[in-house]
């Protein structure tokens, strides 16, 4: 069991969360989609794993580098 944090690549807002706590993700799967400057930017689970915690809600503002989810490999 090794937990890792998934961070936002951009400053913007959370447009859509496409996973739930407990979901099993493959490497490269999308956890949620951010919106910034009219663009949709996916937040990717680089190594895959189980979604342990989602730290933001749809519509919420996020900053670049902010942890938005925790996964467990």
């Amino acid at each position: 069991m090794s937990r890792y944090e998934v961070a936002a690549d951009v400053t913007g807002s959370v447009w859509k969360i496409v996973t739930q706590v407990g979901d099993e993700l493959g490497a490269g799967d999308t956890v949620m989609i951010l919106e910034s400057m009219k663009m949709e930017i996916p937040v990717i689970a680089e190594d895959g794993g189980t979604v342990v915690e989602l730290l933001v809600a749809e519509g919420e503002s996020v900053s670049e580098g902010q942890t938005v989810a925790i996964l467990d490999e």
Binding site: G12, M37, M39
Partner: protein, 450 residues
Amino acid sequence: MQRVLVANRGAVAARIIRCLDTLGLESVAVYSDADADAPYLEAATTAVRIGAGPPTESYLDHDAVIAALKSSGADGLHPGYGFLAESAPFARKVIDTGAVWIGPSPDWVELMGHKTRAREFAARHGIPVGAGSAVLRPDGPEAMHAAAERIGYPLLVKPAGGGGGIGMLAVSAPSELMDVVERASAIAARGFGDGEVYLERLLERPRHIEFQILADRHGHAVHLFERDCSVQRRHQKIIEEAPAPGISRDRLDPLADRLVDVFAGAGYDSIGTVESLFGSSGEVTFLEMNTRLQVEHGVTEEITGVDLVAGQIRLATGERLGSVLDRPIERCGHAIEARVYAEDPIRFFPSPGPLDVFRPPEGIRVETGYREGQTVTPFYDPLLAKVIAHAPDRSAAIGQLTQALEGFAVEGVRTNIPALVKILRSEAFTVGRIDTGLATDVVAPERTVR
């Protein structure tokens, strides 16, 4: 018309306010909380707050903009580009207040805003249109597959009500078709209110060539040549130029003349741009018509010496084309525009933040709505500035633009300037071997592997 409300923000708001001043007209700027310290607000005769930062609460809010129009005493409205510029319902609301809508008749906005109806219009008037389908409901897989077979693969799935490349997805084989249709339809439903899509033949690595039209309300129209806007990232233009390099005038001019005949004949009555794709094997296809001022209008202004914004405003008040254009339109030299975006130069991700340093180059045309110390917020598109070079020939214009971009100091946000310079210096660009795949080819080798 005495006083014009500018229903937009950023570089285009600054440009229109400056133009109104030269025409001796008063200007009303509008702003959201996110733009309260924008420099062009001071240049306007007066400025009105219309709401909070998110576009739906300010620049896209019909009621807020109409209320500002009425309270400010403006008797004209310029929509700029983006936001409400291509909303026929909004145009009708403006006209209902008794103010001048500085754009084409709402019926034209409506017709050209619906992409398949616009294609039908083009085809009916002898403008070349590539293979495509009518609007299809995403829940009809049999009709969808039949249409796709008729058009042939690869093809594009496009939202019927959309534009700007948003929600446009490629399909290379029948097995992928319905999956992609479902995704495109979901994006269309969210972004444009309906889930309707259509299919179109995908030209691989075409050139994006568009024609500038100017028409009055008395049945006259002219063209102001073409712009080549092939250099794009994520279907969005980043470098535009005129004239289009390396294409014979024998292919460009007859098409431009044909467009003038069609739109004058059909009663088009404002500024407009017809976008087309030129395929590598000589095929030309109508893409869409934008019934508004275009972001890259400055390129055409530079080579023709015509102030397109002033022309658009004067034509909206009923002036005749003959009095707005005091001489025949001619081309002079070569112009290239680069769009400077607040975004990561390699991955093209947005990069909002404070403009700790923002010093545009001098001695060259720069269109911007920002100044040093202002914050670039995540609410709007990432355009910081347009830098436009005009020189006697293309290579001189490339040199001028490259040098200007290298002297453009920006700190606090990342910009795409390194990517722009790399493209301008690339062999493919300098020899004029350009197509819509060029930007990715030149920039992608540096892309970090994720």
